[in-house]
Amino acid sequence: MAASETILAKLRERIVAFAASRIGRPEAEDVAQETLLVLHEKYREVDSIEDLVPLSMRIVRFKMAALWRKSARHGDAAAVQAEDAGLRSDADPERELIVKQQRRLLLEALEELGERCREILKMKLAGLGFEQIRVRLGVESLNTVYVWDLRCRRQLIERLKSQWERPQ
């Protein structure tokens, strides 16, 4: 229990720092608080760090997206519910529109990748591991494949970061 509290405390600190650099300190505090609230209320059984961290990150991403949508709609002061954050797929036209837009942007970003990046990504999406990718590419060192993949992912992240951190 103490270990879990320690993890949550560190997690809150990281979430606040991350959100504060993007949406401001007060909103960052709110996002962190609401994230921990969702974890406490809906995912109480999750206590291991390898599950808590990715789950909290996903909640934060949706909370921030909801916050941006709320800010965009002037006069709408309705509170963002965790259920509305997209953790469950509901038939929401606005949500569907956002997803479509994100897909379009992602496909455009993929099109702009180089030949080797697209080849690596294609193999990863086909379920190949890095060792198999290394063999397919005819590379001697596995670290070379790691480096190539890291550059490709960073290229994609740079292109799509604004979508995740500042959704329209």
Partner: protein, 399 residues
Amino acid sequence: MKREEIDRLLARLSSGELTPAEREALYNAALDDQTLFEEIFAEQALAEALSDRTIRDEFLSAEQARDREATAAAKADRRRIPWWGWAVPAAVAASTIIGVILLREPAREAQVAQKPAQQPIEVAQSQPRKTAPESASAPAPQPVGPAKHIAVAEETANAIAAPTVKGEVAELMQKKSEPVLMARRDEAKSLDLKDQAVPPRANEEPPAPPTPESAPKPAAPRAVGAGVGATQTAGRSAEAESRPAQVAEFRAAAPVRQMEAREASDAAVRKEAVTPARAKTVAAERDEALALRSSAGLQAQDATGNWQDVPSGGRVARDAKLRVKVIAHEQGSWTLVGKDGRSVQLAANETAYLDLPSSTPGLNSVDLTFRPGSQAVMRLRSATAGGRLGRVRISFTIE
């Protein structure tokens, strides 16, 4: 945790290959490192976006279409002939054409030069030698017929005017040494000019020594250096009447041509004595080729106004008008060597006359050059190799 280890774990995280222990270590590190936390945040968002089945299907179908296009483009590239694929054959064809143009004339010269080796060459023969009456018991030497045709090899062509004793010819063929050939050639020239009788052949019995009564009468007067007996000349004249006029002209100029060819050959051999055998061959080929392709002869105007042929080395009156009659048996250009440098371009079997200044003091020879080929070919040669040139010298004496 080192940066390389973090990158490796992030890569494996994106592909879902992390073990639970690696994942726990990575997230523990992320809780203590804000940068790593944000990196994992982005990696997770990307992995989640790529996990969308719609995205994955569209991306893979787009990649397949791209692969098909690339394959089709590669096939098209293989089918399409590159620009150098056209340029190389074009360059080779152009080089071949130019080479053929440049080499056509010398090749023809070489072919023509080889022909005289098999072609019979008319050789001057002496008139029948009269023997003494007391030697009637001995078989009288048979008079040599008019203008025998003897097939002579190329190397002996230059010494063809020498006494045609078989033994000597064989000796010439065997020795082939330049000094001997030169001596034979000089001897041949002197004999020819003196119009001496041809000694009997080796298989014939030698004639009896001449007595004062049976001393050979002087040969019938004929042109000095003509190289053809009167009998031959008469025979030729009759023959020429029955043939086209151009052939007759060629025949008439033959003695001059043979003399000039020999002189030119000697000069070329002496001049190119560095490699005597090669120089002799080249000179002989060139002169024989020139003789077949063209001929030139000196003509002087007599008191009646008619033009008479003057053999090489002949005499002309002091005030006589002189001209050179040039005949081209194939297309080419005759040029009078000298200050004027007049030149005349002739078509095949065409005749032209080049007037000479009759009052030039000390004028005792005329040099001409013949260059076969059209003007276009000669211009091309002058811009490249220079082509081959035949030279003729006609000598005469002003009385």
